[in-house]
Every structure is written in C-alpha cells, then in structure tokens.
C-alpha cells in the first residue's frame, strides 16, 4: 500500500503488520499521555515526589537518556571532524537516536517543572552562575542542531528527493554538515558536563559535592566521559535490536566493533578518573566534613552494591571487554559489554539524582526512601514509546541504513 514510499531497493513488512505494531506503541503512548495530562492539570503533587525528593525518576530518566544519546554528537565529531569514514554506515542512526533522546528529555522536563508556562524564563532571566542555565541553553541549542542534522535524512525520502529543489537542498545540507557536527559537539560536551556540574556544585550535599578544576567541579568532566563512553554502544544496541526485530542485516559488524572500540577507549579513560575521584572523595573530602564512606550508603536501595556494580561490573569489566579485540570481535560479547556499560551510566545518574538527596545531610535527620508512582512511570514510558514511533517511521520510510541493500542481497 505504501511501498512507493520505501527507500530504494529495500523490503518492509506489510502495511497491516505495520499498523498492528504502531497500534501497540500508540497504546503505551496514550497511557503515558493520560498521565502527562493529569500532571499538567493537577500539578506534580500527583507524582511520588515530595519535599525531600524534589528530583526523582524523571530527572534520572532525563540524565540517563541524554547520556545514552551522546552517540550522536560524539560519532558526528569523529565522522565529520576527524573524518573516520567507516562511521558513515551508522551516522544516520546516531542522529535519529540522539534526536529522540534529546527531544524526549525536553518533553519530560516540561512535565517536571512546576510552572511549564514559565520555561522561557531560563532565557529571559538567566542566572549565569547556575549550571542549570547552561543546561537549558545547551539542550535547546543542541536539540535544534539535531533537528538540522535530521532534516537531510527526511529530504532524502525517495519521493521527496525527486523534487530538484529538495534534492539540491539535501545535498547542500550534507556538504555543510561538518559545521553543525562541530557546533553540536561543542554544545553537547558543555551540556553533558553541565549536567554533571549541576550535582558537583551542591555544597550542601556531601554525596555529590566535588572540588573543582578551574570553575568546574570534577563531575563536569566525569559526566562528559561517561556519556561518550556509553553513547556509541547504545546506538549499536539500538541497531542490533532493530536487526533482531526486522530479521535484516542493517549495519556491518566491522562498524559495530569500531563503535565498541571507541566507546571502550573512552570508558577506560572514564573509569580511570572515576576510580581516582571516588577514592579522593572517600578519603579526602568526606573526612574533612566529619563524614565517613559508610555514612553515604543505607539499606538495599542506597547500598554500596550500587557503587561496586557501577564501577566494577558495569564499568571496568565492559571497558576491558570493549578494548580487547578478541572479545570485542565476538558479537555476543560486544553486546553484553554494551548492555553493562549502559546500565552502569544509568546507575550513575540514579545515585547522583536520588541518593544524593536521600542521604541525610542533617546529622539528626534520617534516610528517606523514594519510590516513583505510576504517573512517573507512565509518562517516562510515553517517551520510550515516542522513541519507538519515530524509529519505526524513520526505518520504514527514510534511507536510515546505507548498507541495508548490499547486506541483504
């Protein structure tokens, strides 16, 4: 029915199957939309957040997807600025995944702030000392860059591209894409760093506070490194998931292994600094304010197992796996390492968001446990459904994978 819209020379499932698949996604999306409407109408009192936990599931989700979406800017940097040609096989997907992650994060933020109608105050009354101001500026500017990077892919749609003007426009946008890749890399580096800086400057929160390098706390750099150490392999996981779902080969393994090598290298650098940072924090900063390492952990939900899982199982181990060629070149091993790395960065964002404020700074206060309620889950699932929907449409109608034809013939 819609086969004329498919990219040149590829097969797609029947229109009926496509409709069923889309309906399932829309089901989840509608459930989340219902939750979102309740939040906007009744206020965020409807969530599991409270005066103790001003930040919760939404901010954790936001930070995690933004870190995982880092494949876009980092791969763009390597492809367009450092001219690593091999990456053109996956660059379209990284842009789409990045776009989904960033636009999804912005949708969640709209729900998360108590006065969504005043969101523009961030530009109108900016506090240049606030890391969050930097986040607001960078996230919107970079989201715009991602849209600009996404547009040529849309213009290359088979029917659209037959129009000479659109064809020429798409071509010219490609020619100038290095400029946007550079701009995106700059903006996103600062954005990822500012998210880390947001926590590092919390002088009243010993779990997150870090001494600084120049005007930035260490967490600024740790967040950048952790994002570029996991973003590329998250894109590989998305590509592989799409391959399993469609039964087609979409990206050659050589490209995936290269992405693994890049992520592994960055993850190794990150782990080196993260371990030093954790050691300095535990033995230097904490005693200086009368606290111990043990004071920072409590029970199961805030236990030390989170730290060890993040650093060893989901940090050091996947880093070793990805930088070792013999392991990296075995698909199952690469995918396991990629999954571990993505879990690790998500744990990192969780503890910096929730554990940081759960830890009772007042000595006579007690630990509090935070549990999101269905409203927060549903609205977060809405964003995941939104991502599935965008990927579904892009895969069906746009030339997302340049290798698809040759790999499946």
């Amino acid at each position: 029915m819609d086969s004329k819209l498919f990219p040149e020379g590829v097969q797609r499932c029947s229109f009926g199957q496509f409709l069923i698949w889309t309906a399932v996604i829309l089901g989840f999306f509608t459930w989340g939309l219902y939750a979102a409407v309740l939040v906007l109408y009744n206020g965020i009192g409807t969530t599991g957040l409270d005066n103790y936990f001003g930040f919760g599931a939404w901010i954790t989700f936001d930070l995690a997807v933004i870190a995982l979406g880092a494949g876009a800017f980092f791969t763009g940097l390597l492809k367009y600025i450092l001219k690593i040609k091999q990456l053109e096989k996956i660059i379209n997907l990284t842009v789409v995944v990045g776009f989904i992650c960033y636009s999804g994060a912005m949708l969640v933020l709209t729900l998360d702030i108590g006065q969504p109608g005043r969101a523009w105050f961030g530009y109108w009354h900016p506090n240049v000392h606030s890391m969050l101001t930097e986040v607001i500026f960078c996230i919107t500017c970079y989201c715009t860059v991602l849209i600009i990077e996404f547009v040529p892919l849309v213009l290359e749609q088979k029917q659209l591209n037959k129009i000479p003007f659109i064809h020429a426009l798409a071509h010219n946008m490609h020619v100038n894409m290095a400029l946007f890749a550079g701009l995106g890399a700059f903006l996103s580096t600062f954005h990822q760093g500012s998210l880390g800086g947001m926590y590092g400057v919390l002088i009243g929160r010993p779990y997150a506070f870090r001494e600084g390098f120049f005007i930035w706390p260490w967490t600024f750099f740790l967040f950048v490194l952790s994002a570029v150490g996991t973003g590329p392999v998250f894109t590989v996981l998305v590509a592989t998931f799409m391959e399993k779902l469609t039964g087609k080969k979409l990206v050659d393994y050589k490209t995936k292994a290269l992405m693994g090598k890049i992520a592994g290298t960055m993850l190794s650098v990150y782990m080196f600094f993260k371990i030093i940072d954790t050691w300095a924090w535990a033995t230097g900063y904490l005693p200086s304010v009368g606290l111990t390492f043990d004071d920072m952990f409590y029970g199961l939900v805030y236990g030390k197992w989170l730290l060890y899982t993040e650093i060893i199982i989901c940090g050091v181990i996947p880093a070793i796996m990805m930088i070792t060629p013999s392991i990296r070149n075995r698909p199952a091993m690469l995918y396991i390492a990629a999954i571990l790395a993505c879990i690790g960065v998500s744990i990192n964002r969780y503890v910096f968001t929730v554990q940081t404020i759960a830890q009772p700074a007042l000595p006579f206060d007690s630990w509090q446990v935070y549990a999101p309620n269905w409203v927060e889950y549903a609205s977060s699932i809405m964003i995941v459904a939104y991502g599935f929907l965008v990927l579904t449409l892009v895969y069906r109608y746009l030339p997302l994978f340049p290798q698809e034809r040759e790999l499946n013939n």
Binding site: F121, H125, I203, G290, L362, P363
Partner: protein, 277 residues
C-alpha cells in the same frame, strides 16, 4: 569560599534548652505567611478524581512548614535518655547553596539584611534549590493552595499567596521588616538602624518560652549579637561552610555535637527515633 556580608545581618539565636517543642512557632509562621493548610479534597477540581487524592497534613513530606521542629535524641536508653527540640527556619546562609543554582534568579541574597529572598512570580519550579539545600528549608507547592470556607477571610494582606508549582521558604517575615522600616521613617528614625525588637519575626514573637531571639547580628545593641557569640552557640552543618545566620545554643554537649557533622562514628544517621516534627 565567598560569604556575602552586608551592613545589616538579620539573624536568630534559638536556645534549644528553652524549647519545649510545643510547635507554636510553626503555627505562628503558618498564620503570618498565609501558608495554606493541607486539604485532601479540592471541590473545584473534578479531574482530581482520576488520580490520587491531594495530600493531607499527615503527609509530613508534602506539607508546607517553613518553620519545622525536629526532635533530637541522645540515643541512650532509659533512664539516661534525653530529648531536645530544634526549630528550623530557613538558615539565610551567608554562602547559600540555593542561590547560585537557581537558573532564573528567582532567589537572591541581598542588601535586605542578608535575607535570602524568593521571587515567586519568577520561579519556574525546577526544584534545584530544594536539592541544594541540606536543611530542607525550601518547600514546593505541590497543590493549588486551598483554604476552608471562611478561613480565607483571615489571610494577611501583606503577604502574597503562592500559586501551585513554585518553591517557597521562610523569609524572616519580610513584610514585618518593611512595616518596621516604614514606621521608623514615620517617626524620623533611621530605618537602617532599627532598635532591638522593632522588627521581630512571628515565630520569635509567639514562642511561649522565649527560646527564639531575633535581631541584627552586626549590631552590638541587639541581644542576638552577643548571644551568637556565646560559649555554647553553634550553627548547623558548620563544616560544610554555608555560614547560616541562624545560631543555636545549648549547654548540653550531645546537642551541640548533633548540630554539626560530628557523626564520623556513625551516630545520628539513619536513627529511626529522629523524625520530622
């Protein structure tokens, strides 16, 4: 570390040994500052039925209590057990954690006696200041404010009512400061050199045991000036360097120790007996 200093520094000294934990300061604060009571049902919102009920006052983590009273315990078994009560307003820190993080300058520490202000019409409700404040002195308006019928007639015309979705906090009853300055001007006195007691907060005024003393910490003629320098005076979380303008005093050593981060032996953290007031 950069501590903001101004000519006038309004501050409080709270004598924990005098505090009985009666909660009058909390009530005084609530009435003075038009803080809406927590009501479970909103008769004007029909969509509320589709989601959870509004929180009632029993949910201490969603109430608005600019002044909160904590119960402290020395952790000993009977007959050596002792308790103390620690009222906690906003600390009006000299080096506030909340001010530099706000993305829209909705909060500021300024010449108004070093009081950390909050501009409600500018707040976007991101709650970054709440995450930054270790004293939990900032409160979010989770629900639209709602007063039971008739109670709205008792609202103070001097204090703005905050809408849903903004962060609010204690401001040392700032409207009383404006009133005191105006009165000084009318009496041909210097509004920048108010006499001790000319400006007082609701919590200090209502306290039946006079545990709370309020005044200018920089003015030697004000009682708080000397009280804050007393041998038993201390500030909460001194080691973190936020430099609060609220001082506490207690002759009991275990109370003073709990005020700062002297918990390297694990004392205090996670102790279930200590709870929100």
């Amino acid at each position: 570390m950069q501590i903001k200093e101004f000519k006038i520094k309004w501050g409080m000294v709270i004598d924990i040994d005098k505090c009985t934990g009666c909660g009058a300061c909390m009530v005084g604060c609530q009435v003075e500052n038009n803080i809406a009571p927590m009501t479970k049902n909103d008769p004007y919102n029909y969509v509320q039925a589709l989601t959870k009920d509004r929180d009632e006052a029993s949910n201490k983590l969603k109430t608005l209590t600019w002044m909160n009273v904590y119960e402290l315990s020395n952790g000993q078994a009977f007959p050596d057990h002792e308790t103390a009560y620690l009222p906690r307003p906003c600390m009006q820190c000299g080096n506030p954690a909340c001010v530099p993080v706000c993305p829209v300058i909705a909060t500021d520490k300024n010449e108004e006696g070093g009081i950390v202000s909050q501009i409600y019409p500018r707040c976007i409700g991101c709650r970054y200041c709440m995450a930054a404040c270790p004293y939990h002195a900032r409160y979010f308006n989770w629900w639209d404010p709602l007063w039971p019928e008739g109670m709205d007639k008792g609202l103070s015309p001097s204090v703005s009512v905050r809408p849903r979705g903004v962060v609010e906090k204690c401001n040392f009853c700032h409207s009383r400061y404006l009133d005191a300055k105006n009165e000084a001007r009318q009496n041909d006195e210097d509004p920048m050199n108010l006499a001790d007691g000319a400006y007082n907060t609701a919590c200090a005024e209502i306290c039946p045991t006079k545990a709370i003393t309020f005044g200018d910490l920089n003015n030697p003629e004000h009682a708080v000036h000397d009280l804050a320098k007393g041998p038993n005076a201390f500030r909460l979380l001194e080691k973190l360097g936020l430099a609060p303008q609220v001082y506490y005093t207690s002759e009991r050593e275990w109370v003073r120790k709990q005020g700062d981060n002297y918990n390297a032996d694990g004392g205090g953290h996670g102790a279930p007996s200590n709870s929100h007031g």
